[in-house]
């Protein structure tokens, strides 16, 4: 069994039948593996990490687990608890657990997919409090922790970024000009981040560098696949991306089997 986690791109938002049409299902069929898809539309990386950790910490049955595939979402999304259905998206659908509000700057604007209260507080949050560096530090930490825990559990780990926008944000945030401008204040963040990022193997950085393949969004655009009305990849893109990932896995000889890793550190987490 392979655990999948991510945002709407992994969930298959806007597909007529997400369970059947999303890339994870196609990949599972090609690999001959059962897929447990924990992704949710709008998911923040906090949510992806929280739910993955909930699974990997042993709160759910891990005996059949052979692999973890995570497509991380946009850095700027944050997770809050909302007990008041303050998100139109939550009220309109049963797609996500409405108590966990997945917030992003795009949900502040007053349209039918925005929050329904606290606009001003969120505007000041994104205007004055949130910084790109914060989102990057959190995401790279999540990526390296998940990889490390997968190694300890002896399960294969594949990770990537859903959208090339993350790559642009990363490059802009840590551009030589900014490093020069902010000096040690930025290098204190940049150095551990880049060390952790570089330590990840290519299969844990899909779409995160230009050398490690396209993001799902990039793949969809480059191949002129149909986009849905809210710009999510359509069913053809999902099918083709599932095949592309399958080929990547085959070409790189990545194997999903129970207990395939010999861990370097530690004594293994019991499963």
């Amino acid at each position: 069994m392979i655990l999948l986690n991510g945002c709407s791109f992994t969930y298959g938002d806007e597909l007529e039948n997400p369970d059947k049409e999303r890339w994870g299902t196609h990949l599972g069929e090609l690999l001959g593996k059962t897929i447990l898809n924990k992704s949710a539309p709008g998911a923040s990386n906090s949510r992806i990490f929280r739910t993955t950790m909930g699974m990997l910490s042993g709160m759910e049955d891990l005996s059949q687990l052979e692999g973890v595939i995570i497509m991380w979402s946009a850095f700027e999304r944050v997770e809050m608890i909302s007990l008041h259905a303050e998100h139109n998206y939550d009220r309109d659908s049963n797609l996500i657990n409405s108590q966990f509000l997945q917030m992003s700057p795009s949900r502040i604007s007053k349209n039918n997919r925005s929050i329904t209260r606290n606009w001003q507080a969120w505007e000041t949050f994104y205007g004055e409090i949130y910084t790109r560096e914060t989102g990057i530090v959190n995401t790279i930490n999540y990526m390296s922790w998940v990889k490390w825990i997968c190694d300890q559990l002896k399960v294969t780990c594949i990770q990537g970024w859903f959208h090339e926008g993350n790559r642009v944000t990363f490059a802009k945030t840590f551009s030589p000009a900014r490093i020069e401008q902010l000096g040690p204040r930025l290098t204190r963040i940049y150095e551990p981040v880049i060390k952790k990022f570089n330590a990840l193997p290519p299969q844990c950085k899909l779409g995160a560098t230009e050398n490690d393949g396209p993001t799902f969004h990039e793949f969809t655009m480059k191949n002129n696949f149909k986009l849905m009305p809210r710009e999510h990849p359509g069913p053809e893109a999902h099918k083709a991306y599932g095949e592309q990932l399958f080929n990547y896995i085959k070409n790189k000889n990545i194997v999903f089997e129970q207990d395939m890793y010999t861990p370097v550190i530690g004594t293994n987490l019991p499963r």
Partner: protein, 257 residues
């Protein structure tokens, strides 16, 4: 026990850093050093004043994964759940830390009016007790797995009983609720707490309410006159004694030290 062959790893906030003790004596008189003296070990104290639980787990991972030699015992004294960490290059009040640690109590002293205003609004309208609790539990789970994977015993303590208060308050006031979101959050939190408590006898803050603050209250120990709201050195002695009593009856831990 070996003499200085092993070390204990501790992390936390100002209560672990030793704020409230004379600066010249801070390193010698804080609870972690006193405890390591009793155990005959070294200590690596990664605490920072004002720490959020985000920083504690982030630096704990960094320290353990890059350690040349692993500790024999870990003790994390978790901080206040609502605290946050952000990278904010615009200001310099926290420039000694890699990420600014923001506490709800400290918002009033943020220099920039706009940032102060934004944080006041954040803590008033966006952040919540439930979110603070959920994040604290998530950090505890992550660090628990880190130590479990290395087969290192870990003690989860709390600096004050805030986590217990959040937990009790949330569960007790909502146990009969019909609200689906509330029930879902409760289910999530109880599953995480259940997992932690089942797998580690030293998880304090939920069904076992033990904290540095509670110890001070129970023993009627004084706050410091140097830094209001922080324990003075006699409190650190009591805390070290309390942890020492806790672990000296655990043969598994004692054998490792």
């Amino acid at each position: 026990m070996n003499e200085k062959n092993n070390y204990i790893y501790v992390n936390g906030c100002s209560y672990t850093y030793g704020i409230g003790i004379e600066v010249s004596e801070q390193r010698q008189k804080r609870w972690a050093t006193l405890l390591s003296n009793k155990l005959g070990t070294d200590v690596l104290n990664s605490a920072c004043p004002g720490s959020s639980n985000f920083r504690i787990s982030r630096h704990t991972y960094q320290d353990i994964l890059t350690a040349d030699k692993l500790p024999s015992l870990g003790i994390i004294m978790w901080s206040d759940g609502p605290r946050q960490e952000y990278f904010r290059p615009q200001e310099n009040e926290y420039d000694w830390l890699d990420m600014a640690q923001v506490t709800p109590q400290g918002v009033g002293s943020i220099k920039s009016f706009f940032h102060r205003d934004a944080f006041e609004s954040f803590f008033s309208f966006i952040n919540s007790e439930q979110r603070a609790l959920m994040h604290t539990i998530n950090h505890m789970l992550s660090v628990e797995m880190l130590f479990k994977a290395h087969n290192i015993p870990l003690i989860h303590l709390q600096f004050k009983s805030n986590t217990n208060r959040h937990y009790r308050h949330f569960i007790e006031t909502n146990k009969d609720t019909n609200s689906r979101p509330l029930r879902n959050v409760m289910k999530h939190i109880e599953a995480c707490v259940g997992y932690l408590e089942k797998n580690n006898p030293y998880v304090y803050g939920f069904n076992k309410d033990e904290s540095f603050g509670k110890l001070m209250h129970d023993k009627q120990l004084p706050f410091s006159t140097i830094s209001l709201g922080h324990p003075e050195h006699t409190c650190h002695e009591a805390m070290a004694e309390w942890i020492y009593d806790l672990i000296k009856s655990d043969n598994d831990i004692i054998k490792r030290l």
